[in-house]
Symmetry: D2
Subunit: 82 residues, 4 copies
């Protein structure tokens, strides 16, 4: 068994409005920054799993994302090694 560090990023699907990201994007020019072309805010999950190998850990994290970390109807997720 190996300890495998994994990252799961969860974002609202591109066609779904992101009010939190919009607030940040709109606020930046008022604070002296140039306006970003786009800006969206999602979730970033860092986890460590005990698994046979990296492939097994990634497969497990993929299922965790599907079942508990994201809402697949409105969100996309990406799973990768940390």
């Amino acid at each position: 068994m190996a300890a495998v560090k994994i990252v799961v990023d969860v974002m609202l699907k591109p066609e779904i409005l992101d009010p939190q990201g919009q607030a940040v994007a709109t606020a930046l020019p008022s604070l002296g920054f140039p306006a970003p072309t786009s800006l969206r805010v999602g979730k970033h999950v860092e986890l460590e799993l005990e698994a046979d190998d990296e492939a097994a850990a990634l497969a497990q994290a993929e299922r965790m994302a599907e079942v508990l970390l994201a809402n697949p109807v409105i969100e996309d997720y990406r799973v990768r090694l940390a």
Copy 2:
């Protein structure tokens, strides 16, 4: 000017308890998953900036993170090219 895609990940500092991550970690075994060794939840920001070059865009995103994306007292952030 170039369009530069950047990612900013914001996490609670390691010494600060993360109840959302704790809830997810505790829930996973009840759903048939092995318990993760650790699991923490933060924010993931994807933005696109018009800047002279990648270095300038990264420097700008670094200041945005310091000023508006994170609370440096309780959170750490990492800025990188997407």
Copy 3:
């Protein structure tokens, strides 16, 4: 003009799965609590507005919720005096 304290609560619509709430609900029995019948997690915004009166402040907060605090496609919100 009066300073009016207002609360805006933003929840995912009932028909949309809430993975964060599900994680908390699933974790509670593992921590010795009875399982809740239901549990959902949303956003709670506390703001103070200068307005002519409470009705004007509430009307303004209602529009802020529609435009920036919530995503009306996937979220419901409620505006009230604090």
Copy 4:
């Protein structure tokens, strides 16, 4: 046993900077709204518990908030009947 609906609101402590609230507050004037005097964003949890009575349900939700819903070092919470 009775089904009791409870609300738990979780906010960063007043002395802790809230970047998400700051982004929203700063964005509002750019969208044609007056600037709020203050604006902070927290979590809003709606749950339903089976308990002997309302007092028992409230006591239980109070402990859930302490243990899993909030981080008492950086957040305050309020528990009330829905």
